[in-house]
Subunit: 344 residues, 4 copies
Amino acid sequence: MKVGIIGATGYGGLELIRFLYTHKEVEKVELFTSSEEGALFSSKFPHLVDLYNQPLQKIDYDVLSQFDVVFASTPSGVSSNLFPPLLDRGPKLIDLSGDFRLKNLASYEKWYKKTPAPQEVVDASVYGLTEWNEKAIQEAKLIANPGCYPTAVLLSLLPLIKEKCIDPSFLVIDAKSGISGAGNKPSQTTHYSEANESFSIYKINEHQHIPEIEQAISMFAGVETNISFNTHLVPMTRGILATSYAKVQPGITQEHLTNCLKETYKNHPFVRVIENASSVGTNRVKGSNYCDVFAKLDERTGRVTVVGVIDNLVKGAAGQAIQNMNVQMNLPQTTGLQVVPLFM
Amino acid sequence: MKVGIIGATGYGGLELIRFLYTHKEVEKVELFTSSEEGALFSSKFPHLVDLYNQPLQKIDYDVLSQFDVVFASTPSGVSSNLFPPLLDRGPKLIDLSGDFRLKNLASYEKWYKKTPAPQEVVDASVYGLTEWNEKAIQEAKLIANPGCYPTAVLLSLLPLIKEKCIDPSFLVIDAKSGISGAGNKPSQTTHYSEANESFSIYKINEHQHIPEIEQAISMFAGVETNISFNTHLVPMTRGILATSYAKVQPGITQEHLTNCLKETYKNHPFVRVIENASSVGTNRVKGSNYCDVFAKLDERTGRVTVVGVIDNLVKGAAGQAIQNMNVQMNLPQTTGLQVVPLFM
Amino acid sequence: MKVGIIGATGYGGLELIRFLYTHKEVEKVELFTSSEEGALFSSKFPHLVDLYNQPLQKIDYDVLSQFDVVFASTPSGVSSNLFPPLLDRGPKLIDLSGDFRLKNLASYEKWYKKTPAPQEVVDASVYGLTEWNEKAIQEAKLIANPGCYPTAVLLSLLPLIKEKCIDPSFLVIDAKSGISGAGNKPSQTTHYSEANESFSIYKINEHQHIPEIEQAISMFAGVETNISFNTHLVPMTRGILATSYAKVQPGITQEHLTNCLKETYKNHPFVRVIENASSVGTNRVKGSNYCDVFAKLDERTGRVTVVGVIDNLVKGAAGQAIQNMNVQMNLPQTTGLQVVPLFM
Amino acid sequence: MKVGIIGATGYGGLELIRFLYTHKEVEKVELFTSSEEGALFSSKFPHLVDLYNQPLQKIDYDVLSQFDVVFASTPSGVSSNLFPPLLDRGPKLIDLSGDFRLKNLASYEKWYKKTPAPQEVVDASVYGLTEWNEKAIQEAKLIANPGCYPTAVLLSLLPLIKEKCIDPSFLVIDAKSGISGAGNKPSQTTHYSEANESFSIYKINEHQHIPEIEQAISMFAGVETNISFNTHLVPMTRGILATSYAKVQPGITQEHLTNCLKETYKNHPFVRVIENASSVGTNRVKGSNYCDVFAKLDERTGRVTVVGVIDNLVKGAAGQAIQNMNVQMNLPQTTGLQVVPLFM
């Protein structure tokens, strides 16, 4: 397989490179750019000069159409323009940005404040939450790879909503992310001396992943709901942990909750149902494609705490994208992704 | 004033020392121990040898009764025994542990799994949430200094509950703390290589600060409620940020929420009502006695996000304890506590 | 006293503000800017809105001449222009940049790659290494406050060089700094995700503090030498630790080394001679104006390890600047600076 | 291949597991313990329950003799007893501790303060600095895997000493390590709140890696010298950077230095000669088996700065051990170790 990456100098792109270079079915990885034509990849990442010692290539559809798979790991508002002309030219397309995730274009405009992709291309795209959409992904020409937060939230909550274990009418989701989620562009917020040793809240009730999560709850669990969703910045590089709260439905026990998760994911190698509460932390998945999910009933209040944990750059971005590529190419999902978490 | 500290080698004790040494009304600070008799304070903290170059003193009630104020900064289960004999011997007593906070002894036993202090001593103690209990604190012989989490949670939520801005029947409180909250005793959880670069959840629905928060909501806002409350470990040393979620009452606007907070705290120098969302982070209060509070209405869901931010070791422990001492001694609350946050 | 700060939005300026607001002889602190006229101080630091709720003032020499002291905490190349017209207008001037430190203008040009200040102004300035230059500082109109690295290096090495304990002909100084030393301007180097969890070397043999250290060794110890000096970035916010290596002179013992340090600093409250090796770390001075110095003879090699430890933003910048102001104003050196290190 | 690990619950053991599980020639990995018999591996590392869901096995030489390779990743003083009886029983033995590194038993006793292994077993062992000892490693029954610091120091310095580019008579080596080097056992030094945000020096002139480095300089470069060597703790989990200083020999230029390194390592996939100074940092090798080496001449002083950078847990421990196993088993050195550094 021959794989192209547009936007290779971002963190999502860098993680794609990291995994693809040890993916045994990938022969060649070429790097493209929509904005830095002629720049040397190795001028940004001199320690990777042995992996790729060429200028980033400019986007040429005739060239790209020769590839088996093309990933776009670009800021929102870029692939909505870049990908449509490639749609029927051959390669499987996998977009790591939010440009094709929201089926409702007005919603995209509202939350992203950008011009949406054409409706027919958005309609043709498939939401790449692998464990919940495998069939559609197999057939997809264009995959909208899920956002980092939605991945952690949906994998942990969807089984419980779908199986009516919890009341979806008052869902509170409190999400926390390492700072790599903000990308590689320096800013005051990500300036070391101000981000270090501080925990903060951001985009209060305004995160663009809100409509994505609500759309997926509707799509996969058949439930319409408005969630409360806030995001926080953790002084660490990698990792997302999302803590959700809801009432349980009458009669639901701890056993129901755990079994519901276990049953849902019994054939899914990358979702681990955690029963040992002391193991619910981002270091347990660091560097890997795992999503750890956990649910604990609070009998005192009749509410449940649901937790989803991922490495935001892997299962929340590049790892899930490669998992989707594997599904598209009829490879085992784990190909190239079977790594033990770093832990420390 | 002559001040004694029992448990000076813990982090709470160390912060008491840090502030008391620049408190202009304190002439003398003496250090006592309930468990390390004869140990040199400076063998644990050699960089503070100039401050206190003596062995920790053993507890002697005749000696302690000569002090104006005695702080206990000991693990739970210690001051419940140590303080009762001192109650009427002269010094003002301020306990930083949880031993005198819960009026219901059965509740103490359930959540702390320790033998409670005598009921009459607990009854005589005053809950030291300074901004909400100043009158009682002025008269108190024994102050139960609030827990770190309750301080951040209560200062942000109490005004909105009391003034009926929010519906207290479904309160979700998602709290995050730096690792110094776990104290100075090494463990696997606080081992650098396992705590660093990881965000984790702990004591799920089981934290002993749950009954303390519920009791204070009842006491100060007149509302009985069962909260959802979870705690998380942030890979940083200092700081607590608590994010709470509730429905607003019909007709409540953003302006009501902000005004309610402002009105409540207009004469309270250590509580700052934040309106600039980008300023809601733990580095904004680091090293200081401030509590920053913030409320934002989500019109889409009719729910509010309420945030309280403190330095867990200062407003969440030693700083509030000294603030209470100032109230007891008829000093301005800010004496010895007027420091600018470190920020970086 | 009325104090002005030019460059208040940098970290040096912010630390000046932090200490000056609790300095009992300072009545008023006003903030000036050379480049951000009209900007609100509180738009950068919303959490300090209560301290200073005005626009930064533009530089007006008639206004500034009314102040007792004016600090400049600006990038190099700024105060060389701003300060000369103020030299005889009244206020004591204290410059935290490198603009007046090097007496040899050609050396300034070579290492700073900027136009130097006028020779006569540089000649009139006094190098503000407080413990070594107190007399001259008392009389000075313009103080060149030492660099962060030189402070840690010189305070630890100067006594041993001056007293001929060590051979100065082959001096190796390996210095490490927290990232706040890079200032408040975002860059790829200080971008959290790339600075965090990484230790790196920078400005190899090229740091502009090299000529400053060599000049001070000549000035205070009467020795001309070329040092090896390298700097490293530590993934933490505050702190400098400099490790130096040299041969000891024949017959020099551990006792000589320790006594030499103790004798030198016996009357200097901010330099602590450490004998307990386990106490040599940046957390021991965090947030304070202390410099910890330490020397250990290696009998096996006949060489000594000398260590100097400071908080780069305090003793390495704002703290020492205020210490110098105290000396100029005939106040006790410790006024406004008597804080206990944070430690954790 | 069937591989056994003794001491699997330490960080070295955990990294062995991480790499061996994706090593295509390794069929089976079994875990043994010398001190925790019966403990479940997954009780310590619940997130790895899918990898190894059994009790740690007790050491049984008949069982172990059936393995192709046995690693010991135990504290010093353990494998000196455990390995001798296995020496001629079949498996290749690879020891990650210091027990077989020092050929001089008196030196071992002096620096390690433990009873040494039998002289004949030490004599039979081969020092596993792969790039410098490949031939001997191929034939070895017992490999003494190098220490973490020596690996970074020797790979960067040996070429320059051996090729007489530098004067070895006054070698200063200033080494810095992430905290994972201290292992997985909690202590005050590694307690998060005291290690975080602090840079400290430790084992001043006393580190047990001193004789190992001196022995290897003698063995591989034929030079006897006494080094100055100090170690520092960096508030990060992984990584070692060692900065060395020496005079260059007359006539040696920057080109000589760089070429000497390049020539030495031209056929060695894991040592990268860095020419871009901005790429010298521990994040460039994080999680990988690379050692980055760098040398820069300071023409002003006639001295050179030499830097070696590794991930202490990989090239400094488990990675190099597997590299040595590959050599012993006639596999390409890179088998199982070809990973792209994590960088962020």
